[in-house]
Symmetry: C2
Subunit: 216 residues, 2 copies
DNA sequence: GAATTAATTGAACGTTCGTTTTATTATCGC
DNA sequence: GCGATAATAAAACGAACGTTCAATTAATTC
């Protein structure tokens, strides 16, 4: 046999991407074989090489587009010129929503970095650093404005990102908590962690029990 | 050739464990070959099978002993009958110290769970759950005693553990921050996150800037 | 110092891996 | 409807994988 009836390159490529994300998230990049992936898609292994020259190219494509998606999402969600508290809230909300929605892709992007070549690893890490820098800037602005009290902005940014991204480890859609509830609680924890002081303007939009922990 | 002069089973087994932790942490379990591991130790691949019947047995041994070590460390560090704030402080200090000291083993235990058989995965997760339950108990006791203000103790416990364990991702010994500085900052962040109220007894031992964030 | 046990080597086994090549069929532009 | 091209199948490649086995030598026991 050869070309099958109804076969379509675009559809096949999309199916390969989706199956690859799920399989790599479940089994790991090294443990997933190209034959396994092909079987999941419903084609022969050789067909995969029409879309991705090597297995590593496939992995890199998934990671790069995941990071680009994250940066694009933040670029859309970021408030134009707001106070640090609102900006931090937007960052947390965007981060949690994005990562819950793309649990598997996040797993792949976080766990399989070591399978990339040096050059490609650098590329992905550059995007990641750019994203993290956004948070550090918000924290630093907040400290300078006197609305956050933070020991070490770099360390705090890392701790916050680890905490928020960790949501994908235990969160399962449709279980005890909804995405909204989770986001609200993480917002509350974040604001307390950075010692956010609620002023008159942002007090109109409370963050869970933040008010309980802050001197009023 | 056969048995080499000066060869010693105990020493070889210890060398295998250490090399395996480092190699798996760097390359991943699937990507590390038994030949590679043997070369690192300085023996032939076949010699490994004198100590570990299969590759998975080796992985499981490393993970089980890591978790047992963590539980043992907490068992030693845990205060007998103290207030929730002190107990939480002890938990954080022990967690950070243990994980920084065993960065590679932690990496292995967290990243390679999917390579275990179902039965062994259950065993490891049981130990992990027991460890996490200790933190949840502290948080619940603190809420009941009125010294913590927390929305959801289960979610908060997971967030704290993710945040603390995340230290191994970016921390490198001998760089900008010392272990003591990192621990102090994490303690401070933790106490603020749980809305810890400092009373007279524990005020003698301040947690960084915690006092700035709490109404006094 | 002979017998026994512990530790390791070197070669080999069958399997699976990522990838390439060649052939074949479906679809599309004209 | 015919040529060009896109999409796939089928088979094969060499390399590497985890693991086993028989042979061999060092250390220990008596």
């Amino acid at each position: 046999m050869a070309r099958t009836t109804g076969s379509d390159g675009e559809k096949t490529e999309a199916a390969v991407r989706e199956a690859a994300v799920n399989l790599i998230a479940r089994l790991g990049y090294e443990a997933m074989s190209m034959r396994q992936l092909a079987a999941e898609v419903g084609v022969q292994a050789a067909a995969l090489y029409r879309y991705f020259p090597t297995k590593e190219d496939l992995l890199f494509t998934l990671m790069r587009e995941h990071m680009e998606g994250l940066l694009a999402a933040w670029s859309t969600a970021r408030p134009a010129a707001a106070d640090p508290v609102s900006r931090l809230a937007a960052y947390v909300e965007n981060h949690i929503a994005f990562h819950i929605e793309r649990r598997h892709a996040t797993h792949v992007s976080n766990m399989e970095l070591r399978s990339l070549s040096h050059e490609r690893l650098t590329q992905v890490l550059k995007m990641r650093t750019a994203y993290e820098k956004e948070l550090r800037t918000i924290l630093r602005d907040g400290v300078e404005a006197g609305v956050f009290s933070i020991d070490d902005t770099g360390l705090t940014a890392m701790a916050l990102i680890q905490m928020m991204t960790g949501v994908i480890v235990w969160f399962r859609p449709g279980e005890r908590l909804s995405v909204t509830e989770v986001t609200t609680t993480y917002l509350s924890m974040t604001m307390r962690l950075v010692g956010a002081k609620i002023d008159a303007s942002s007090a109109a939009r409370p963050f869970g029990r933040v008010t309980d922990a802050v001197a009023l």
